[in-house]
């Protein structure tokens, strides 16, 4: 395995090491392929924008961060990749930070009362969105770092596989942590990171605002990188946990599961997986309902991303619960398949939506409409994407999403939690098809709205909306093509991901047969019913009657309340803002009343004191220490100058002194001899 040592001191060994297993390879291929297509698309999309160096730097670093994450065998290095993405998302979402125009007003929106949400310019709003994304994901990251460090104190290795790693049978971290009762806290802390990055409840609030950046950024965040990172991390931990516990228990686990404290298998983490599954299911349903009322084109897609991510997390959680019976693989596989299919069709949808927004100069769907005629090819590819999103066979989304629902059904057969998960999953599927059709109807069907806004006149030189150029369209065709034929690729992924030894044809047949034969027929049937329940009203309202204004929801009453509740996004976002605003006001108060007068006062006083002392010390140095040395030399020079006065240069003086001295000597001699 290629590796290079980064830190190697006793007790802390952190190498750069690559991990090539089915999961990481699938994720790496998926993200790098999508990144490539999105970069190609961006070359045309961003052709007339400034600051492209910054843009492409961040875009490429983003993809690099994702690859670092998925290919690293080292949790710490993976975390670095994770944080690179966080930073790049911040830079890219707020990319248009200097737009001076006023933010576009949502014609179907409502007034924001929170002072934090008042923006003078669009640039401000974009910056705010970027900051929000960074801060919210950082909240998860902070927990995650804590979890990583907690885990490390027991594993003493950041490695996933290899000697001494977490999955090494010699490493007893699992048992130790379970005995200390720290297993679940550590796993929850790490999962908090995934909640933040993958936008799961309750940290889903950043993703809908992350639409502020250029569209290709949205596509990158939603399809290829960033939000998939959380899913990857959860899946990685599922695999690691399964490998750890199975190596610790080569025999069947059920016997041991009944002797608590004797030993610890995967059942110690079952609460964790239940929480994962429930979080996923709640997210899938909740954000699905939010998507039904949003008016912003890309925001609808954002909600759909959140909802689909919920499915993926749900699949991982279900896989974990099913791992108790020894078969986590199929459910995990369906999660991975959903990552792949979602990556493709969501990239498709975003890039197509970008083309639409590019050509009609608004992001609100109520200002669009009737584009089917103008943007023929965009319409076609977007239709494919939407069908896949809604899970209509034979598009890619159908296979992956439906198998997730199937596994929740399997769980529901013997676990009450499973029933809850199943209901939410099916409910989310109904919401999904509703907003998918609503999106198509509002954007492409119905009449073209009149140009009544005066601002629109500035753009009159733009002719009618039209399909974008080849650099933008070709990636769309590729993605659409994949979405249609994905069902033929999935058996290959299955072969790789779970080492399935069946041939392609066998798996293919199995895939189809499971839907139309008995136990699988029941969840399939229920899903179809749910799709009809969501799809038919949407079709009637938004496609068939697209030309007539929509007045289904009365101005008052329970329906309006529900509508408003959904439009306020279950008030979750606003409650956060309310709290943050209160906190900021408190902090401001603290600053004015405590910090500035007291603490700052101490600071300034001590700085003044330091300068005062330093002046005195300098005086001491100059005058006493140096003064002493200089004084010695000055005194010496002065003394010699004084004595110099005796050097008169006249011979008479010298002779006089000599005679005087000689006389003195004579007197002394006489004295000593006693003669005087």
């Amino acid at each position: 395995m290629p590796h290079w040592e980064w830190i190697n001191i006793p007790g802390l060994y952190v190498p750069f090491e690559m991990l090539l297993d089915p999961l990481s390879i699938i994720m790496a291929i998926l993200s790098s392929t999508l990144c490539f297509l999105i970069y190609v698309y961006s070359t045309e999309y961003m052709a007339h924008e400034g600051d492209r160096d910054r843009f492409f730097f961040l875009m490429l670093a983003f993809g690099g961060g994702m690859l670092t994450l998925v290919l690293s065998n080292n949790l710490l290095i993976a975390f670095i990749g994770w944080e690179i993405m966080g930073f790049c998302s911040y830079g890219l979402i707020g990319f248009w930070n200097d737009k001076r125009n006023k933010p576009e007003v949502d014609p179907m929106g409502y007034e924001q009362s929170n002072p934090l949400l008042q923006f003078e310019t669009e640039g401000e709003q974009n910056t705010h969105s970027g900051t929000k994304a960074f801060i919210v994901t950082r909240i998860g990251d902070a927990f995650m770092l804590g979890g990583i460090l907690l885990l490390f104190t027991f594993t003493s290795s950041f490695l996933f596989v290899g000697p001494g790693s977490m999955t090494d049978p010699a490493n007893t971290w699992w048992t130790d942590m379970a005995r200390w009762g720290l297993l679940l806290p550590a796993l929850f802390l790490i999962f908090a990171g995934a909640i933040g990055k993958s936008g799961q409840a309750p940290l889903q609030v950043w993703l809908p605002e992350a639409m502020a950046g250029p569209t290709s950024v949205s596509a990158l965040i939603h399809a290829a990188t960033m939000v998939k990172a959380g899913v990857y991390m959860s899946a990685r931990f599922l695999i690691t946990i399964v490998a750890t516990t199975s190596s610790a228990h080569p025999v069947t686990e059920h016997e041991i599961a009944f002797t608590p404290l004797a030993s610890f298998g995967i059942e110690s983490a079952i609460t964790f997986f239940i929480v994962v599954a429930v979080v996923g299911a709640i997210t899938a349903f909740m954000t699905g309902t939010m998507g039904m009322v949003s008016n912003e084109l890309k925001q609808v897609l954002a909600f759909s991303t959140l909802s689909q991510l919920g499915y993926m997390i749900l699949a991982i959680g279900t896989g974990g619960i099913l791992a108790l019976d020894g078969h986590s693989d199929p459910a995990l596989l369906s999660g991975i398949l959903h990552v792949v299919s979602h990556g493709a069709f969501k990239a498709l949808l975003f890039l197509a939506a970008g083309g639409v927004i590019h050509s009609v100069h608004t992001k609100y769907m109520s200002k669009m409409g009737g584009l089917k005629v103008y943007m023929k090819w965009t319409y076609r590819v977007m239709l494919i994407g939407v069908l896949a999103l809604a899970g209509i066979p034979p598009m890619s989304g159908f296979w992956s999403k439906d198998s997730i629902i199937e596994y929740t059904y399997e769980l529901a057969l013997h676990n009450p939690v499973g029933v809850f998960l199943f209901i939410l999953a099916v409910g989310a599927a109904a919401c999904t098809i509703f907003y998918s059709i609503r999106l198509m109807g509002m954007v492409f069907h119905g009449p073209r709205p009149e140009h009544h806004d005066d601002e629109q006149h500035d753009d009159e030189h733009h002719s009618d909306p039209h399909d974008p150029g080849p650099a933008m369209m070709v990636p769309l065709y590729i993605l659409a093509g994949f979405t249609v034929i994905a069902f033929a690729v999935f058996p290959l992924i299955q072969q790789i991901a779970i080492n399935d030894t069946h041939t392609w044809l066998e798996i293919m047949t199995e895939m189809i047969m499971v839907k139309i034969t008995m136990p699988g027929l029941i969840p399939f049937g229920i899903t179809i019913l749910a799709l009809l329940a969501g799809g038919v009203p949407a079709y009637v309202i938004y496609i068939k009657n697209a030309a007539t204004p929509n007045t289904r929801i009365p101005e008052t009453g329970i329906l309006r309340k529900l509508y408003s509740f959904l439009q306020h996004r279950w008030y979750i976002n606003e409650s956060y803002y309310w709290f943050v605003n209160k906190f900021l006001r408190f902090a401001d108060l603290w600053r004015r009343k405590v910090d500035e007068p007291i603490i700052d006062g101490i600071d300034f006083k001590s700085a003044d004191a330091a300068i005062g002392i330093s002046t005195k010390v300098r005086w001491f140095d100059d005058n006493i220490v140096d003064g002493f040395a200089e004084g010695v030399s000055t005194t010496a020079v002065e003394a010699s100058e004084i004595s110099m006065g005796s050097q008169t240069g006249r011979i008479n003086d010298y002779v006089g002194v000599v005679i005087f001295g000689f006389g003195l000597l004579v007197i002394l001699a006489l004295l000593s001899w006693g003669l005087i």
Partner: protein
């Protein structure tokens, strides 16, 4: 760290590499004098570059702990005179040899001299003479770090003094004559006391027995003196003499007053060499003549040494804060930083004799830090001095309150100044941080009260940032009589080159420490045969 090809190259040289390194600048000095202002600069650049290359070759081609006596390598001796007629009579001789510590200092000297040579581009007057002194100075510096006997050491020690005296006095700015005489008197007084110490040790090395009869041939050789096992009280007398000689050079309070004068008044390359290496001679003398030769004596003086070091650090930091001349501020920063070296020396001396392995390890850390501090300070302070000198040309003055808005007017110069200042107060990522961290981690285990020196760091950060605030990040003064201009690339090349080791050592300190560690391990184990 030893590479075979470098060893082979060293063996290919026509003479002993140390002798070659001493002779090359001398010959260069002759040529520089003969060529005068026409070619002196060119020849100096060639010679200093060659010397730097030789130093690099020496350090990668020589084991840190050699096979010669005392763990030295490339030992060579040249007899000056024999004091007597028979072959057992004592001799005056010059012994050269290097171990890991010396080689690191030699590398530093050649690096700083090279940078100073590049930075001498503003010297226009009597170039031939200037570069002659410059190259003689280099010989002297190298000789100090190579000498293995007291006579040779003293000769080279004094050889440094004379060219430096002329460089300060002849090419300095207003008031430089006073400064150069002050420099000369202070250092010469120190050397004189040290010389007395040398002779004292020489006579005592006869190892008189109870009846006052000499049992040994007296010697000046450091290795022989070390192995004699002199009585600790004799050693202490010698150590105090060393404290005078090396303490002036280092410098410590209250022997430091020559330094601000000499640094401020000297031409910029002169300041660079003064701060970059001359001060290191003091630190090296403490380590080589003190810790390496008479460890017992320094161990008994460790507490006063440590107290003096901590006091000097804080005192110099406060004095620096009140300076208005940029060069003066940098000069006091030098005093501030070099006192760390003395603290590391004291901590090592106190801890080395301990039987507790934790304290021994701490002592090891502290002395590594001292040597690293010398290297790192030599690089950082060179940049600071070059930039400070450059202010005179680009801002018209070095008075801190008069320079405003440097960032806006001279972004490149500001960038260099900012990086150097950050490095100087020990921001992690720069070499200064590693040095301070090593010393304090070691010293604190030996003397827990040595944590007080942390207050010195605190004040240092304060005055450095305050200086940056006033000079760099202030608003430019439109009515200033001295318009600020951007420094040209020819002025910036020297400091930028010097920033490379500052940053490199900040992230890879073992690059230097690996050469030093074996020597220190041997010293801790009681000296190698």
């Amino acid at each position: 760290m030893q590479l075979d090809f470098a060893t082979n190259l060293l063996n290919l040289l026509p003479m002993n590499v140390l002798v070659l390194m001493l002779l090359v600048p001398l010959v260069g000095a002759l040529f520089a004098y003969l060529l005068g202002s026409k070619g002196a600069r060119a020849i100096t650049l060639i010679i200093t570059t060659l010397e730097l290359g030789l130093a690099g070759l020496l350090i990668i081609g020589t084991p840190s702990l050699g096979s010669d006596p005392g763990g030295m390598s490339h030992t060579v001796s040249y007899m000056l005179a024999r004091l007597g007629t028979d072959s057992t009579a004592p001799v005056f001789e010059i012994i050269l040899g290097v171990d890991g510590i010396s080689m690191v200092m030699i590398l530093l000297s050649n690096l700083v001299v090279w940078i100073a040579a590049i930075g001498s581009n503003h010297i226009k007057e009597s170039q031939g003479l200037y570069y002659t002194f410059f190259l003689v100075l280099q010989t002297g510096l190298l000789g100090v770090f190579m000498s293995l006997d007291l006579i040779g050491f003293f000769i080279f020690w004094e050889l440094v003094l004379i060219p430096m005296f002329f460089i300060i006095g002849r090419w300095g700015e207003e008031g430089c004559r006073h400064a150069s005489i002050k420099f000369f008197i202070y250092t010469h007084l120190g050397s004189a006391v040290m010389l007395v110490g040398f002779f004292y040790l020489y006579f005592m090395s006869s190892m008189f027995d109870i009846n006052g009869v000499a049992t040994q041939v007296p010697t000046f050789s450091m290795i022989a003196l070390r192995d004699l096992g002199l009585d600790p009280w004799i050693q202490i007398g010698f150590a105090l003499a060393i404290f005078m000689g090396a303490g002036v050079k280092l410098p410590v309070f209250p022997l430091h007053n020559w330094l601000p004068w000499a640094h401020v008044k000297a031409p910029t390359p002169g300041s660079v060499i003064l701060a970059g290496i001359l001060l290191k001679m003091g630190g090296y003398a403490f380590i080589r003549l003190g810790l390496w030769m008479v460890p017992d004596a320094i161990a008994r003086l460790a507490i006063p040494f440590a107290i003096v070091a901590i006091f000097t650090c804080i005192y110099a930091a406060f004095t620096a804060m009140a300076q208005t001349d940029m060069k003066s501020l940098v000069a006091y920063t030098s005093i501030n930083h070099m006192s760390w070296v003395l603290l590391g020396v004291a901590a090592y001396a106190a801890g080395a004799g301990s039987s507790d392995p934790t304290i021994q390890a701490a002592a090891n850390l502290a002395i590594q830090g001292s040597i690293f501090m010398m290297f790192s300070h030599g690089t950082i302070i060179s940049v600071m001095f070059i930039v400070a000198g450059q202010l005179k040309y680009n801002a018209g003055t070095r008075e801190i309150p008069k320079i405003k808005g440097l960032m806006e007017k001279a972004p490149k110069l500001s960038a260099v100044l900012i990086i150097a200042s950050l490095a100087a107060f020990g921001l992690p990522g720069f070499s200064g941080f590693i040095a301070e961290a090593l010393i304090i981690f070691g010293a604190i285990v030996v003397y827990n009260w040595s944590a007080l020196i942390g207050f010195g760091i605190f004040v240092t950060v304060g005055y450095m940032l305050w200086m940056l605030n006033r000079i760099v990040f202030s608003d430019p003064d439109a009515e200033s009589e001295n318009p600020i201009t951007e420094a040209s690339w020819s002025d910036l090349v020297a400091p930028i080159l010097m920033l490379i080791p500052v940053i490199l050592l900040g992230v890879w300190p073992d690059l230097v420490l690996d050469f030093v560690k074996p020597v220190i391990d041997a010293m801790l184990a009681g000296g190698s045969p």
